[in-house]
Symmetry: C2
Subunit: 200 residues, 2 copies
Amino acid sequence: MAYHVAPLERLVEQFERLPGIGKKTAGRLAYHILSRSDAEAKNFADAILEAKEKIHYCKCCQNLTDLELCPVCTDADRDKSFICVVEDPRDVMAFERTREYNGLYHVLHGVISPMDGIGPDSLHIKELMARLSDSEIKEIIMATNPTVEGEATASYISRLIRPMGIKVTRLAYGIPVGGDLEYADEITLSRALEGRNEIK
Amino acid sequence: MAYHVAPLERLVEQFERLPGIGKKTAGRLAYHILSRSDAEAKNFADAILEAKEKIHYCKCCQNLTDLELCPVCTDADRDKSFICVVEDPRDVMAFERTREYNGLYHVLHGVISPMDGIGPDSLHIKELMARLSDSEIKEIIMATNPTVEGEATASYISRLIRPMGIKVTRLAYGIPVGGDLEYADEITLSRALEGRNEIK
């Protein structure tokens, strides 16, 4: 092609590196940036740098925060006897949106996945184990994803914790609310049957 | 929600302002940025600032470039008797990809659209008219999009140019190559019939 604008191509390439953004979308986004004002483009660049600079892991629960301890860990109203163990900071947001859970969290930042070379040492498991010495803790809720890796991670961690006499639970399996039985897969349906509850 | 990380939220908000990016995707992209190295995040921010700073309109054809005149305008091998008038810099890229067109371009940066308050003066029409004094020019190809606004803009500009004795043409309408007649809309099909060519 005869026509090249190096700075534009570099910007397109940067957008292309984002997950789920292909060549065409990257081009569209780059042109959009050029059509905005200088101040708006600067705000975008600053937001990237600021987020990267200020956000780190909470010293206690390993969730993302710009403080030393995240707001959940420092909140006096939170029930400190429960720890919900999740894969990802986004899972914390999902639980917070339910407004049903009032305990603490622990973010592993991944799951055990030998295929991808991720072993238990790559995750924040030792930070979790360090928290368990606190006598206030009564229950660890394993809330990793219902995938092969999520299951393996949940069972690995529960085997570490059980000897310490702390209760370890797993999220319930079943049919999703609003779902359609006809389209539920066999494994989900048999788990839903297994875990059936009496109607009172 | 109890859980807020201000720099993260600002980054999510910036991503949300991009076209076609919703709240969930913006969150995913922001988390992706945080998972990258500091150097990679800085490269992204720099690419935005650099593109915005260095890229401007070509003095002649109004296409985006980081030089005073774009590579097409300065290319001695280009046929300077044709100007292809397009709405957008992306349309130039589309023509360049065909490798069939060897003339010059003129980018309007929009179309006449009274509903959005865009009149002829908001477009780069006067820059096009200024170029027409060059006696080398033989034909202006109107290549605005086949929309109501694109048509109106093409016909407005051609009415300005025709009195100057320069030929003004419009891209052919018809069925797209590889398309399916069954799914072609009525207008496209009747235009294809109207513009039929003899098989030789």
